[in-house]
């Protein structure tokens, strides 16, 4: 049974397409981070993919720039209830980092400079559904938004799109990351409103 709030009309923003339940559109780009923004120099940035057997594959900034990049326009949805339509990014599909990786694992933990972690099923990172992104709206990605390099997984709540990305580790079991250990949902589908565990 709905509880109506006397005197509240709301803005009824004109969304040109539906939003996930409980979300509202924002024009600016809010910042949610659990701690200070780490200073990560692109010159010393590295990304390591480590399999469940310990095999490591590594890329540096020049290696990243040499990979085929895509320009993508996606909607993003933060668990704190803002959504942003038509954000433009440039990055490399995550598939490209797994071309030479032999794994039977189904789960990934993304690791950030600064210590942040988040877990994502491997399938959610493949088939062109996720990117290793380094430009936002035509400019190098700002540190406050995860620069120099962040993960971009727009079909899940945005805490899954780890800022300051430094590693992807493969696991046979789903290992909860930072927010997932602090009350947030293991998977985080905005359309099913999987906010909290």
């Amino acid at each position: 049974m709905a509880v109506f709030t006397r005197g509240f009309g709301g803005h009824h923003p004109e969304a040109d397409r539906p939003l996930p339940p409980g979300q509202h559109l924002t024009a600016d780009f809010p910042v949610l981070s659990a701690g200070p923004t780490p200073n990560v120099d692109a010159a010393r940035w590295e990304l390591t993919v480590r399999t469940e057997s310990g095999a490591e594959h590594r890329w540096d900034w020049a290696g990243l720039q040499a990979m085929p990049a895509e320009d993508v326009t996606v909607d993003i949805h933060c668990v704190t209830r803002w959504s942003k339509h038509d954000t433009r990014w440039r990055g490399v599909p995550v598939d490209a980092f797994f071309e030479d990786v032999e794994t039977a694992a189904d789960f990934v933990v993304a690791h950030s400079y600064g210590g942040y972690t988040t877990n994502v099923p491997l399938d959610d990172l493949l088939d062109g559904r996720a990117w290793v992104a380094y430009e936002y709206e035509g400019d190098p990605l700002e540190p406050v938004h995860g620069g120099p390099v962040r993960l971009l997984v727009p079909h899940l709540y945005f805490w899954k799109s780890a800022k300051w990305l430094r590693g992807l580790t493969l696991h046979e079991h789903d290992e909860p990351g930072f927010w997932e250990q602090n009350g947030y949902h293991l998977y985080g589908d905005p359309w099913s409103e999987q906010r909290y565990s």
Partner: protein, 236 residues
């Protein structure tokens, strides 16, 4: 925690020209820890709903939610809460939420609080939780505000028997304050923040720009990033 509770406004109070406190009676709400927040849901007569998150200004009383809301220009929820809501009005609350930006009274280590504007709200909850629990934890509070008129709970937070509080004014200072008005600086951090060697737990809350610059000053001063917890609002 996933349940929406019916909430009714039982008191409102003026804080500043743009902010006020709201006290809600919320049957079923319990167990909040200082620093946590709630989701607040408003429903218009036509069924339209809006949800926003607000930090708890005080914890410790089950079935009571105390908020302090600053009006955001064009904010559909904050303008309602600051300008329209009256005692008796109803809305819905979910929570308490958040397990990281929290202070537990059994943590007796030193605590440094750094607030920008209305970011003082969850930090005030920590100051109050410390007082009611009788905790011996050393607390310092550094608050940056535009002017004395913009300060939340200035008398309470500056009380001589409470925590060591410093106010920093960015636009207009009260008479007798010698520090030139301006943004939080390295000198302020040097003078008023618990030194890094004491390994205080540091909580920083405020608008994104404030938190970014304050956290950078703390890192420059030698604070361990792993001991700094941040909560930001607003965009870039």
């Amino acid at each position: 925690m996933n349940t929406w509770h019916v909430a009714q406004v039982v008191a409102v109070g003026r804080l500043t020209s743009t902010a006020r406190t709201l006290t809600l009676a919320v049957p079923g709400f319990a167990g909040a820890v200082a620093g946590q927040h709630v989701d607040l849901r408003l429903t218009a007569p036509d069924g339209y709903q809006a949800v926003r998150s607000y930090s708890l200004a005080r914890v410790g009383r089950d079935e009571v939610v105390e908020l302090a809301v600053d009006r955001v220009d064009d904010g559909e929820v904050s303008t309602y809460l600051v300008d329209v809501a009256e005692v008796g009005d109803r809305m819905e609350v979910r929570g308490p939420l958040g397990g990281f930006f929290v202070w537990h009274p059994d943590d007796v280590g030193p605590v440094q609080l750094v607030a920008g504007g209305s970011g003082v709200v969850p930090l005030a909850a920590m100051v109050r939780a410390r007082a009611t629990s009788g905790s011996p934890a050393p607390f310092r509070l550094l608050c940056s505000v535009r002017s004395p008129a913009d300060a939340f709970w200035a008398d309470e937070l500056s009380a001589p028997d409470g925590v060591a509080t410093t106010w920093v004014y960015t636009r207009e200072a009260p008479p007798g304050v010698t520090r030139p008005v301006g943004r939080l600086s390295a000198a302020d951090v040097d003078a008023h923040v618990i030194p890094p060697g004491e390994r205080a737990r540091v909580f920083v809350c405020g608008p994104t720009g404030f938190v970014e610059s304050a956290a950078a000053l703390l890192l420059d001063a030698g604070h361990d990033p792993a001991r700094i917890r941040t909560e930001r609002f607003g965009g870039t």
